[in-house]
Symmetry: C3
Amino acid sequence: MIEKFYVSTPKIGMVDITAAVKDAVAASSVKDGLCQVFVPHTTAGVTINENADPDVVKDIIAGLEEMVPRLAYRHSEGNSRAHIQASLLGSSVFIPIENYRLFLGTWQGIYLGEFDGPRRRTVCVNCGGAL
Amino acid sequence: MIEKFYVSTPKIGMVDITAAVKDAVAASSVKDGLCQVFVPHTTAGVTINENADPDVVKDIIAGLEEMVPRLAYRHSEGNSRAHIQASLLGSSVFIPIENYRLFLGTWQGIYLGEFDGPRRRTVCVNCGGAL
Amino acid sequence: MIEKFYVSTPKIGMVDITAAVKDAVAASSVKDGLCQVFVPHTTAGVTINENADPDVVKDIIAGLEEMVPRLAYRHSEGNSRAHIQASLLGSSVFIPIENYRLFLGTWQGIYLGEFDGPRRRTVCVNCGGAL
């Protein structure tokens, strides 16, 4: 079963969704398996990175902003860089589930990367006990 | 079971494989679960991005072409940038399956990213009912 | 069940973990399914790329080093570029399992990408028979 929740995003930035994903995993009652976190969007992505110092995810955004070139893109909406940034992060991350809990490293948090906000975004959490 | 299909690719560019993936999901008879789309290649990748305006995926290619540097690489085949671009996209994408259908967002399509074509590429679709 | 193994890494570079992942898949006794390779770290990632010429993964590192900008980042540890490189590769790769074996392409190997070593890193292999 796919659990869904919604987040309000800034213009551009990372939103910590770790707590909401943990709630969805608890609701799934999966003991051992796999948790998919999926965003059904094309100008937002999802990534796992440091949860201790909030400056880290700000730096990731700063790096992606500098790295993705400002070209004369074709797409008339003017947000092609956001589409590229979404594909660089990807639309899914996966975390093993062990004994009803996400098997995250000590410093790992789960982040929605918004590149064309502000918007209300959907996050899908798809947990299974097969693995 | 892994369903396989084949696509003919351009020199560099994105190939929309959404319809073929949907066919493989239908063939799998999985009701609720997870669909892996995997390319067994090292100079092609796979990504999810906008399906409405075909200019978006052209812009993604243009951005990746500008972004990945032209260095004096060691690999003698001369296609190291293609290998880097493949790793930036990744070799798998995953889409939840809900009620026999891919749970894709409104604007999401599935694309094979070719960085060293033209070639005949294999795409593997691995669907399971566990999730 | 999550199998874990450990690798000693260089300062920056790719470590071939293909053989250790194959051992974990054999230990899992999964016949047909999915293998997740996950790193519980935030300055290391995992990718699939060419296994034939070892220069290819060196070139990928060289490209990522050139591509990710040297900015005045906020994070006081000074390793923000490593965090960005980890998110560009991602923390998981997945390979289909077919008849007890990883379904890897001819030229595909599995690599841990270290961006802030040397360290002892954990690799988790999570195999399931559901797919």
